[in-house]
Structures are given as structure tokens and as C-alpha cells.
Symmetry: D2
Subunit: 377 residues, 4 copies
């Protein structure tokens, strides 16, 4: 290609000045940001576009990974809505997500400031999480009480061994509150995998329980079975990774076994230069086969509490409720019937039993790959 | 105060989950972000509130400082609109702002990507500025041509010595294009001070001119006179500092001589730990008397291309055109009449001459401190 | 206190200019940095001082948490040396630490650059981890081979259930290579806890193994028992947290149950404003009771690959090998003898059997709380 | 190139673990960091290597740019030493550098902490600059007093118009203190250019002086003449850019007119994603022709107070005093003799007069391009 053609190719999309309107909607906001050319604004708009494509692609198994801290803020509302609308087929997070979801389903967190005096707060039995205040009665004490009751139920159900996603479903049923992420994961049967479940308040309660029930086990490897089943057969796959850490790594780790994601959006404040996984850009994942060379992908530098509400609001009109990707419900189908049914019945969950029966019914007739889930949709 | 009261005081404002609506306006977006509690979203909302108060306060002399890079993106549209609406009484920036404003008034910039191959671009005579592409014909060549003509005019006008804000007004008249920031600064007689004007393409052209006109001087100290006059008499003062560097420092530097700003919003990606002025939080300025102890102030961590369009859009309905603060036009009034009139006439500007005559007229009658400017408002 | 006294108090330590010598040792470097006053250099020196105190305090149970990425770089040498010298009584990390330690014990990683073309590398079967190159034959393939053999041994030993720290000790014995961190953890019987062990290559191999051994369980809750035992009885406690994520959180989480750390050094590149645990400063932990109000603590902003070699080198002369804190070996003592001995014997490890026998012997005579471990010291 | 060869090419330099020695010198530290492979440590070592080459290359005109904040810390000692040893032929900084250099030549700054209460400090007349405390008597008051005297001298000398580098030389003579950077710049006749000299305490004093001397001008364009002369004829050129802002931009700006730098080391904490000049990596400069495609260049992410003492200490033994690059003293030679001599004599400086006379002498005989400066070396 000669210089002139190369230039024409490159210089095809002008930078257009943002015009302030009187009542700009978030959808317009996103379109104007797309035209701005630079710097992060354009990437946010690009992220919104990729996310929209990912959600609209019914053949794509979509994964959402996120850290726990955002669940202490109003961003929880956005995560909940995304679970409600089934934009994602599988979620990955850390123990704190369970802690904050329980805490905020039954208690309140408050607005504070980063600059507050931590020794003073400590004296008042108030924890500080960034600029959020967590009173002790909304946290440790409350979680202990709720978990004690919940684990007693688990015990009564005779459960000695449970994967984290099953645990989350049971917990969501127990919470039974529409503000809760666990509730919606349970309701919509979206697996929430917590690869480091012992690290936090719920994990601590599990250990308390374990002291009296030394045979009780968290079946982490059962979660990996789910991850494998979910990813391996997916026709396409996409990921929205909020923040970094174990949740992000676990999402992209499994993607390598299907040749990488087709869609990937990272929202992060972490930096690249320190070699961290949290700061690694989407392109680094290409060398590992975790994102496809031809994937639509973008790395948005910014705080998710700012970026995600805008993106989600801009998509809300266009992406109403979605059916989970048909390929992404392997937990029901990959094992031979007896094992599956035993597994579901074992959990002693009304919903899951219904599902198990429903599944038995369906299997008698179903054959097409495009089947829809029998309930909840 | 006992513990219970201290707690009640602190725990007064709940964290409320963000709800996704179908067509959220930027105003609603900001309100919902305010309720989120954390983390940056809340600060953006706080920044919007402070900015609104600052703009609505007709007794406040408002200063906007910003770096040049954003003028290469669509954020220029927001800066221009703020000048058009006279939200600020004085602007401070760097030479690159003049470069990009000239370039984009007569040429185009294009959308690119951070990852592009810089050697390849160099071979194609395309500069990369982040993810913005600057073709050489829209930049150096174009600016040289325009500046040559403009400086010839300056020379014909017999100007041997000029402050940077006068230079910008003259340049704005010359550009005469409604997309231009310089045009609106000129039109609305808002001083744009460039304390490091030699550092960039316009500065380079000034030096070229200087080689043939060794007596020509930029009167930097005349700009300081303006800064002093603007700040010292102001009843109240506010600042929006976008980014850091010399522009931010110059804004807050002068504020110390009136006891500090009453309103201050910083939007920055710079970090605090390296001790830089760019990363210094609003609270550091309190120890210097550059921001008042009782001021409304917030530091927003984030990229202005993302933060500012949202804030500005959310304010647009509520803060239409504003009159410049009466106290903030000292460049007309602080010197004895003859000097002033000489200064204005000397610039050989139609607008300024009209203004000078108008001023002479006004002085014959005016006495009240609350006088309004005779033109443009 | 009057103003003059307050000033004298505050203004007690002058900023002293750094003088360049001709052959400055790392110890001198640290002393000069301490005198510099600002900005990060001083904090690095402060971190070195706290770390030295922590190491020299034989009554302090010391915890080291770190992310896996640094194990892909030469910083692994520093971590290994710290384990060799027993500066820490317990380590916490992520699965990748096991992956890289196996990989680099039997293969090589190479020096690359952040800017390399990831699609090109992918085509060459080379992964990029920041500026480190990981050839596939040194990673997935190698780890799979080694783990297959190792897990076969585990199976032969009849182990159906294992904590992560026991798993690491067994793995260290298997690796049997002095460059290996796992080797030294095993050799010095320092527990390495991996709260999210399924997340990575070793975790993947565990899952492969699980598919054929559906009864096999990782006993995460057994690790929590160890954490609890280690922390609860400690007279004092200290932590060096490198980076953030689950490892950092797990270290500080448990500290709250003893009233917080007495010493704490964070080295991180993460920022505070996003509310993340990774970016949370030491002072935030005070509000949670995870660090004591009176603790010696510092947050060092910087990349550990740069900061840690300097600190460790500066301490090397002064802090030779250390005995593990006597209080910090609860895994041997908290359970009744039979359970313990069963647990140790069950692991079928030569070293552990020896230790079990040694322990049986010792218990017959020991009674004082200040006993020393019978081996390795 | 086939895959196998491509791999061999890439996989040539192994990652080697850092070994802790007992008394590691900074030179050894740097060598070990070079072998570590990742992440920032390796870049620091690379920066040291490029800097060494740049300093040893007697045909390279070397530029150092830096922000003022570091002059408030002990890093000033490193900057001073580099001026003393003539590692750089030209320096660029901001007004604060003059402020802090005067202040610390005659007064003291103190060690503080970022977390201090700024309102409290304000009440005590102590300014906070990151974790450095600046008592008012060491700053504003002191600078005002010294500058008043100095400017009186300037006035007595009949100077009505002065470039910033001439101003700095005069000021250095006045300070006459070996701890001072200005002193060494003056002594070694290294130009220090301050493109935004009005922005700070010295600038403020200049404006005070201007109020009584309305004809006094800072000749910014004369500095640009120097920049042009210094760069244009240089055989090779190198830059160490500490931090960002106007200083960094001014250094790289001028480099484009000779086809870019041959050596470039950036040390910065600024990030790339926001499109800022401060955060722009070395490679972005390639597209502008500000760094050569074939240049040795590296971007070190980190705080200069930490990075630079290590680098400088490691180089100290190998790079003793250097002669300024012969090509880099154009301020003496580019103008016709009479103008030059007038200019030098006009400054009424003993040193400069001597130099002028010396120059007159030299010109009578000299013709070769490889002449050395007649004094100071």
C-alpha cells in the first residue's frame, strides 16, 4: 500500500467536538463520546458497543467478573440489574461479594469520605471502605447471625459437600430479597463462582461451622467442572472484567481452553507497568490464547463506579431481558442423568427440585440444541 | 459528643443502589451517582454540585485551568461551550491549547489508537497524541502558515510588546471561527493566560518572528498584573482545575493572595504519593492558603474526557449563559485612564477600540461597583 | 500546646540532600533515602526499618502475602531468600505462585518487553507476562507433566483430602530444588496458604485429577484452621503485603481477630481512590481493627520488583537467619496428639513423619511455652 | 524467518533470580536488576545503561528536564551533583525550582507526612508539600527578602531585559552556596531555562519589581534562541526527563528540529491512557520525530525520588566529571561578536565578563569545530 492510501485508511474518522445539549440522555452521551476521538471517553463508548454486541449475541456465553468492593456501593444496583436481565451466563467474584450482599440485604451502609480519621471510626465501631462507612452492626454481627441460621439449614439438609455456585444459589434463596445479587443469581439460575470463598466474613463463618463439622467440605473442584463445562462447549464467549484479582484471572484462565474470548471488555484502574494480572491489558491475553486475535476487545482505564452506570444506562433501552445462552447451562446437562438429579435433589432446594423434575421431563423429549430452559424465562 | 450521637451524625446518609432506567438523562445520572456512596461516582456528583454553585454565584471570580492535550479531542467542544456561556472569568492553559485551537479551526484531527506503530506513523507524516492522530498538514505546516500571516498583522499594527492574554484575544479575532476557543475568549473578552507561551508550535513561530524582530517581547509580567488585579479584588473565587502542570499551579498560586478559593474542583489522573503539584489534592492547598479551610472542594480522580462531558451536560439546563463577574474585569479599570486607553488602542482591534471608547464614555457617568460591562452581555 | 511548641515539635527533622558516593552500599542507600524527606524514597526507608524491627522481634508472628506475577521475575530470588532465612512464619499467595515456581524450577523464562506484538508471540507459542516471556514448553506442558506425576504420588499415598499448605509442603519435597520457594517452605516447614488454589495451572491439574477422582477434596477450611491457630495465640504480629488481591486481604482479614497487626508494610502500585482493597492504605485497616492504632505501619507506592530488592539487600547484613516465632507453629500443637500425628503421618512425607515422631518425643517432656521447634533450626 | 529461529531470537536472555548479598553496592544492585527480567527493576537498569552511554558520549548534547517538587526533597542533592559533574549541557525546569533552591540555600525544609492535618498546619504557618514541611519563614518571606536584594542589584546593573537562563546564572552567583543548583549552573555555565518563570514565588517577585519598573522584560524568546542554537548543531542529543509538564515538553519539542533524540530516558508516575504529554511514553515521541526511531530509549514508571538516587549512585564511579559537549555552547558563538560581547558585558557579571574577554581572545585564533571551552573545565 502506498503512503497516500495508508494515510487515507488511517485518517478516516474525524475527531468531533462534544456538544453540550440541555437534557442529554446516557445513550446520546455515549454516542457523543464515541465521536470525541480521545482519550478514555472514546474507549468507554467502545466498551459499550462491544458489551451490547456481546449481550445481543445469543450464541455467546458471557462471563462477568468483579471484585467485592463495588458491592459496598450503589454499583451493586447495576450488577443486580445485569443479573436480573441475564446479560451474563456466569459470574465470578470474591467472598466479600457474599458478605456485602448479605449485609446490605438486611442492613445499611453509609456515605463517608476517604479522609476520615480511622482511629476515631474504630472507636465508634464503624469500618471504612474507601468513602463508604460500614457500621459493625450491619456487618460482622449481622452476617454471623444470618450465616449461623443458614448453615444450620444446610446442615439439616444433610449437605456435607457443596460447590460455591450451589452454595450461592442456596444462599440467594435464603436471602430472598429483590435487592440482592444472590437472590437474582438463584432465581435466574446463574452460577456465581467464588474461587477464594474462605477469604472474608462468609468464609470465616464457614470455618466456624467446620470446627463443629470437620467433615464439611467446599468442593472447589466441582466449580471448576462447571467452569469447564460452561466454556468448552460455548460457540462464542465474552467477558466483562471489572477490576482485577482472582476473579478476572479465573474468567480469562478458562477462556484459553476454547481458544479465547470473542468479546472482552476490561474496566480497571490498575496499571500495566508492574506486570500484574490486574493491570494486564486485553492484548496481553492474546499471547496466552485467552482472547482471540480477532476478538472485539477494549481496556477501559477508570473506576467502575463511574464507568459502568453510564454504560449500563446507555444500553438499558436496547438490551432488555435476555435469555441465557443455551450453551451455557451445562451444569444441567453434562453429567449423566442420575448423577445430575442426585446432585440437584441433594441440595434440598424447592426450586432446584422443581428444576430437576423439569429436566427429567424435558430430557424425555428434547433433542434440539436450541432448547430453552424450562423455567424462569 | 457521646458515641451514640457521634455515630448518628456520621451514619446519616445511606448508600443507595443505582437503578438503571431506560433513558436516563445526564442530570438524573448525576443524582443517582450522588446516592451511590462510593467511590469516584460520588465525587463526580459532588464536583458537579460545587461547579454549579460556583457558576451561579455572581460574586465569584471563576478560573478554569487546563492542559493542552484535551484540546486535541472532542472535549474542546465542552471547553468552548463553557467560554461561550461565561462560566469562567479567566482561563489558564499552555501553548499547545493555541496550537490545537488554530489547527482544528482550519484542519482536522482523526481517531486512532494508543497501540499504533509510531515508526510507521512517522513514515506517514502522522503524529500520534494518545489515541488521536494529527496529520502534519493539519499541524505544523498549517500553524506556521496561519501564524506567519497573523504575526505580519501584529507587526503592521506596530505591536512590539504584548501580554499573552492580549495575544490570545487578537488571535481569536483572527481565527474568527465559532468552533474556536480563542474566538469565544476574544468575543466574550475572557482573558486566556498562557504562562509558558514559548513552549509549543505557536511559541516556535513567535521565536521565528523574533529572529527578524529582535525587539519584540512577550510581556509575561503584564499577564501577572492581570492575574493580580483579577484575584485581589474578587469578593469570592472559584476554580476548576483540569489536570495539573503549570496551568493548575498558576491558578492556585494567585489564590493565596486573597486567602484562597471558596470553591475548588480538581479533575486529575495524577497521584498524590509522588509529591507532585499535579497530584496534590485540594486539601494540600489549604496548608498554603490557596484554598480556604471552609471552601467547598473536591478532588475527582479520573480522565477529564470522561468526567467533564457528564458534569457539563448535567449542568447545561441549569446554568445557561452567565454574566462575567463584575469584579473580574480589572484589566479595564485598574490602570489610570490614559494608560488603559493607550493599551487598548494600541492593539488596533476593532472590538477593543470600540470597548475603549465605550469605557471612556462609561467612566464619565459610572460610579457604582456593580456596573456591567458595556458590550457583549 | 502553644503555636511555638507545636512548630518545634513538627519541625524537628530536616530534609537533607542525597549525596552521591562512589560505591554506595544498599544499606547506605537506605540511610540516605531516610534523610531525603520526600517523597517515596523516605517511605521505602521507613518500610525497611519496620521490616527490620518485625524480623528482629522474636515474639512476632510474621506474615508475607504476595501475588504470583513477581514469581515470574527475578524477584523470586528475594522471596526465596526470605523463606530460607525464616523472616516470615506464614506465607499467603495465589495459584500462579505454584505454577511459576514449578515452571522455573524445571524450565526457563526469558526477558522481553511490554510492547511486543502479542499475536506474533501467540503464533510462536510464547506467552507474555508483562516484559517476561514464558515459552509454552516451560509452562503448561511442563506443569502438566510434573503435576501428573506428583498427583499420582499423592494418590498412591492414599491422600483424599489435603489443605493447601500441606499440598505445598508435599509439592516442595517433590520439586526438591534449591531455587524453589516451595522447597524452602517445605524444608523450613513454613506454611504457604493458597486460598484460591483452583485459579491457575496447578488448579487446572487438580481439576483434571478430580475428574478421575471425584472424591478428592482440597480442604480450604483446614487452611483457615491453621490461619486461626497461627494468629490467635500470637503475642505480636506483623505483615509485609506485596501487591493486593486475595493474598493481602487474607493476611489482614485474620489479623482483626487478635486486634490487628503490630507491624505492617504494604508495597503496592494500586491507588486508593477506587475503593479497592488492593489500593487501601494501612490506615484504612485501622478502622477495621486489622492494624493496631499504635502499630508501626507504612504504605509504599511502587513496584515491588524495584522496592523489595533494595530493602532486602539493605537488611541482609543485619538480619541473618531467624528462628520462626515459637508461637507461630500451631499446626503442630493445637489439635490433640492423635489427630495431629494421624494428620502428619497421613501425608506420607519422610520429613513430616520424622517431625511427627520428633513431636511425640518432645511432648513427653516439653511443657514450657517457649519451646523451639526440634528440627531445622 | 522460521518459527524456530524467531523463537531462538526472542528467547535469548533468561530471567535470573535476584540474589541477596550482604553488602550489595548500588552498582551490583543495578546489574542484578538488569538480570531480573521484570518488571520495573529491569527498566531502571536499562535507564541507567542509557544514561551512562549518554554521559560518556562526548558528542551528545544532553538535556535534563525536571519539575520543581523534587527540589524540596533530598533529591536536590542528586540534581546538584549532576550539574557539578556536567552530565547535562542544558537544564529545563519550572519557577518552583528557583524558589526551592533559594529557600533551601538560606533556610530549611522539614520531614512530615502526607496525612497531616492541613488546616492545623495552616494555622501554624507551615506549608505541606507532599510529605515535606515548608515553614513560612523558610519560604515566602525569605524568598521575598533575597529577591528584593537581588533585583535591586539587577536594577543597578542597568539590566532591563534578560533571558531566564541569564537570570539563573546571575541568581546562582548571588546565592553563592555550594548546596545550590543555581550556583553550579552558574559556575559551570550550564543554561537553566525556565519557560514559565512567572509561575511561582520568584515570578511573583519579578512582578512586584515590574510594578515599579514597567519597562522590565523577561526575554523568553531569547531563551528559545538558545534552545535552537543548542539543539540544531548538536551531533547527537540525549534527554533525561524527570516527570512531565512544561519542562518535559520543552525538552522534546526542540529535539524534533534535529530529527529527534538519540538517547532518551523518562522517569514518570504519569499514566498513558489519559493522553497527557506527562504520561506519553517515549515511543509516542517517535511519531513526532522527537525521538529517533533507532534511539536508545526507555520509560521508567516510578517516583524519581526512589529511582534516581539508585541510578545516579550506580553511575557515580563510572561517570566522573565530564566536559560539556563542545557543540552545546552555542550561546557564546552563534551571534556576531559584537552582539555577543554586548550581551555578556551587559550582565555585569565578573565571570561572564571574564568569559567574554576569553571568548574575544579565543576567536582570534580558533577555527576548528572541536574547540573546548576556555574556562571552567
Amino acid at each position: 500500500m502506498n503512503k497516500s492510501d495508508a494515510r487515507s485508511n488511517l485518517l478516516s474518522k474525524k475527531v468531533i467536538d462534544f456538544s453540550i445539549g440541555s437534557d442529554t440522555s446516557s445513550k446520546e452521551l455515549m454516542e457523543k463520546m464515541s465521536d470525541m476521538g480521545g482519550f478514555s471517553a472514546k474507549k468507554v463508548a467502545e466498551g459499550a458497543r462491544i458489551l451490547r454486541d456481546m449481550i445481543k449475541d445469543s450464541s455467546s456465553t458471557n462471563i462477568l467478573s468483579f471484585p467485592a468492593d463495588i458491592m459496598a456501593t450503589g454499583l451493586r444496583g447495576v450488577i443486580v440489574e445485569m443479573a436480573k436481565r441475564k446479560w451474563f451466563d456466569l459470574l465470578i467474584s470474591t467472598c466479600g461479594t457474599l458478605d456485602h450482599d448479605i449485609a446490605r440485604s438486611f442492613g445499611d451502609y453509609y456515605q463517608g469520605a476517604f479522609e476520615m480519621d480511622d482511629a476515631f471510626l474504630h472507636g465508634l465501631d464503624i469500618h471504612r471502605l474507601g468513602n463508604v462507612l460500614v457500621p459493625v452492626e450491619s456487618y460482622g454481627i449481622l452476617i454471623e447471625k444470618k450465616m449461623a441460621e443458614f448453615l444450620k439449614n444446610i446442615d439439616s439438609d444433610g449437605i456435607k459437600d457443596i460447590t460455591t455456585h450451589e452454595f450461592c444459589w442456596k444462599l440467594g434463596e435464603y436471602i430472598n430479597n429483590k435487592s440482592s445479587l444472590l437472590y437474582w443469581c438463584s432465581k435466574n439460575r446463574i452460577p456465581l463462582v467464588i474461587p477464594g470463598i474462605t477469604d472474608g466474613s462468609v468464609g470465616y463463618q464457614l470455618w466456624q461451622f467446620y470446627q463443629e463439622h470437620k467433615q464439611f467440605r467446599i468442593n472447589m473442584l466441582g466449580d471448576e467442572q462447571l467452569m469447564s463445562d460452561t466454556i468448552w462447549d460455548s460457540k462464542k464467549a465474552g467477558a466483562l472484567c471489572i477490576g482485577g484479582g482472582i476473579s478476572k484471572h479465573h474468567a480469562i484462565w478458562w477462556a484459553q481452553f476454547r481458544g479465547g474470548f470473542d468479546y472482552a471488555v476490561y474496566i480497571t484502574t490498575a496499571q500495566e507497568y508492574d506486570g500484574s494480572l490486574s493491570g494486564a491489558r486485553t492484548r496481553e491475553a492474546i499471547s496466552w490464547g485467552k482472547i482471540k486475535e480477532k476478538a472485539k476487545h477494549v481496556n477501559i482505564d477508570g473506576d467502575a463506579t463511574l464507568v459502568l452506570p453510564i454504560i449500563a444506562s446507555s444500553l438499558a433501552g436496547r438490551t432488555a431481558h435476555r435469555a441465557l445462552c443455551a450453551n451455557s447451562t451445562p451444569w444441567k446437562l453434562k453429567e449423566d442423568d442420575d448423577v445430575l438429579i442426585q446432585r440437584l435433589l441433594r441440595l434440598n432446594s424447592r426450586d432446584l427440585q422443581q428444576e430437576a423434575n423439569c429436566e427429567i421431563q424435558k430430557r424425555k423429549t428434547a433433542s434440539s440444541r436450541s432448547r430453552q430452559r424450562c423455567s424462569y424465562l
